[in-house]
């Protein structure tokens, strides 16, 4: 078995119009910029994207939105240093927004990957975010029912990957990446280095390869923050 892929273009080639795509990262940390740019080049449209944020500047997720490829965004915090692309698209009525509290977003994704269709959380009880959702009392406290979240594809970013898809992450770039890997039908990981089997200490594997379908090496991945400081625009 060898899950390694030769290029970002090959990695995203099968993503169809209308797909739901989870994109890892929290702000720029852990954002798979090269995979997102390959998806822009590939041309898929009418996407539903799941991400914590809504892009920053004119690269990565912001560029995907700017190119008109995203019909709906599911996120917790559509703000950033430069959210102008999302703000203009939203105000023009060209993108639907579903706001989900960050912990609920994480748990919906975790539940999706773990085969749990719904769960109860105290988060958002009594707020407009809970309107229309079932409420249940447990041990004298009220909880909101939330449903799992799954995707057709997850585009994630790791540090090391091996041919079986075992992954490590780098510092706070881990964030949503491991849980998104579990919740998509097809998970594609870009990693800074592909190592041979045995090249990752089993004690250090964060995402076991069973959750990963493809691994592509991007040796020196771009950081969204650096691109924005250079006022980069994609494409």
């Amino acid at each position: 078995m060898d899950k390694t892929l030769s290029s970002p273009a090959e990695a995203v080639t099968a993503i169809p119009d209308g797909a739901t795509v989870m994109i890892g990262g929290f702000g720029g940390s852990g954002a798979p910029i090269e995979l997102i740019h390959a998806l822009i080049d590939q041309g898929a449209k009418h996407l539903t994207v799941v991400n914590n944020n809504a892009g920053n500047g004119h690269v990565g997720l912001a560029a995907l939105i700017e190119q008109g490829r995203v019909d709906k965004l599911i996120c917790s915090f559509p703000r950033s240093a430069d959210p102008s692309v999302f703000v203009e698209t939203y105000k023009a009525g060209k993108i639907e927004l579903e706001i989900v509290p960050q912990g609920t977003l994480a748990e919906r994704i975790r539940a999706g990957g773990a085969g749990i269709p719904a769960f109860y959380t105290p988060t958002a009880f009594g707020t407009e975010v809970a309107e229309g959702k079932p409420i249940e009392e447990f041990d004298g406290r009220s909880y909101v029912q939330e449903r799992w979240l799954k995707a057709d594809y997850a585009l994630i970013k790791g540090e090391l990957g091996d041919p079986h898809g075992n992954l490590t992450y780098r510092m706070a770039a881990r964030n949503f990446n491991p849980i998104m890997a579990t919740a998509a039908t097809t998970t594609i990981a870009q990693v800074s280095k592909v190592v041979p089997l045995g090249g990752i200490d089993p004690e250090h594997v964060i995402t076991p390869g069973i959750f990963v379908n493809g691994v592509v090496e991007i040796a020196n991945p771009a950081q969204e923050e650096d691109l924005n400081r250079a006022e980069a625009v994609y494409p």
Partner: protein, 229 residues
């Protein structure tokens, strides 16, 4: 109405006062922006362990400009540093720490706080783009929820109110308010005044507060250092 411009505490002084109440070894999440300032004023011997919801526990100060590593940031997307004891984890674990009640304290900002502890701090409800982040998770689940805030809005309206008129972040969650004029606890569905700056009278403070301030024991003078780095 009384002019509080020259007597109210600065944000740094409010943050300093909030920092004095944090126990050594407490697990604490500081909200983006003003609440982050609390970390600067921890007293000697009382070192909290800070949690940032994007997956880092026990991190160090901001690096020097030019030394940033953009894989190492806090929830405000600002660069932080490693220190002995730092750990990383994914978002599910991060919010298990939050939702599971493992945090001792969360410090947040506020648009409005109601006397029953309801908090509004995520949306003005006026048609802007909503953005909640982790606030709704934090306020329902940390053991104590503190708010740092000006006592009144820029227009002079009370932020401490009988009932919130803005969209709620959480219900009955705030336990203590550190304002620019006073320290107020939320207890039994009412505001209990614990401390106030000496320069304001009890009556004037009440006039700037949208619900009754009760007392339960002495009201202490709220005195903060004048110069705070």
């Amino acid at each position: 109405m009384i002019d509080i411009t020259d007597i109210k505490l600065s944000n740094a002084q409010i943050a300093w006062r909030a920092a004095q109440d944090i126990e050594d070894g407490a697990y604490v999440n500081l909200g983006i922006g003003f609440p982050e300032m609390v970390a600067r004023f921890q007293p000697e011997g009382k070192q909290a362990i800070f949690h940032t919801e994007n997956g880092v526990l026990d991190f160090g100060k901001a690096p020097e400009p030019g030394d940033e590593d953009w894989d190492l940031i806090n929830a405000g997307k600002k660069a932080i540093t490693l220190k002995p004891g730092t750990s990383f984890f994914d978002h599910a674990d991060s919010f298990a720490m939050v939702r599971g009640g493992h945090l001792d304290l969360a410090v947040l900002g506020a648009y409005q706080i109601a006397q029953n502890g309801d908090l509004a701090n995520w949306s003005t409800g006026k048609g802007g783009i909503p953005a909640v982040g982790g606030a709704m998770d934090l306020v329902q689940s940390a053991k104590r929820i503190a708010v740092v805030t000006d006592h009144v809005t820029k227009k002079g309206d009370p932020k401490l109110v009988e009932a919130c008129t803005m969209p709620l972040t959480g219900v009955g969650c705030v336990t203590r308010i550190y304002s620019s004029l006073a320290v107020v606890d939320v207890e039994g569905g009412r505001f209990v005044l614990r401390e106030k700056i000496p320069a304001i009278s009890r009556d004037d403070l009440q006039s700037l507060t949208g619900a009754t301030l009760y007392t339960d024991g002495p009201v202490i003078d709220l005195i903060c250092p004048e110069e705070l780095a």
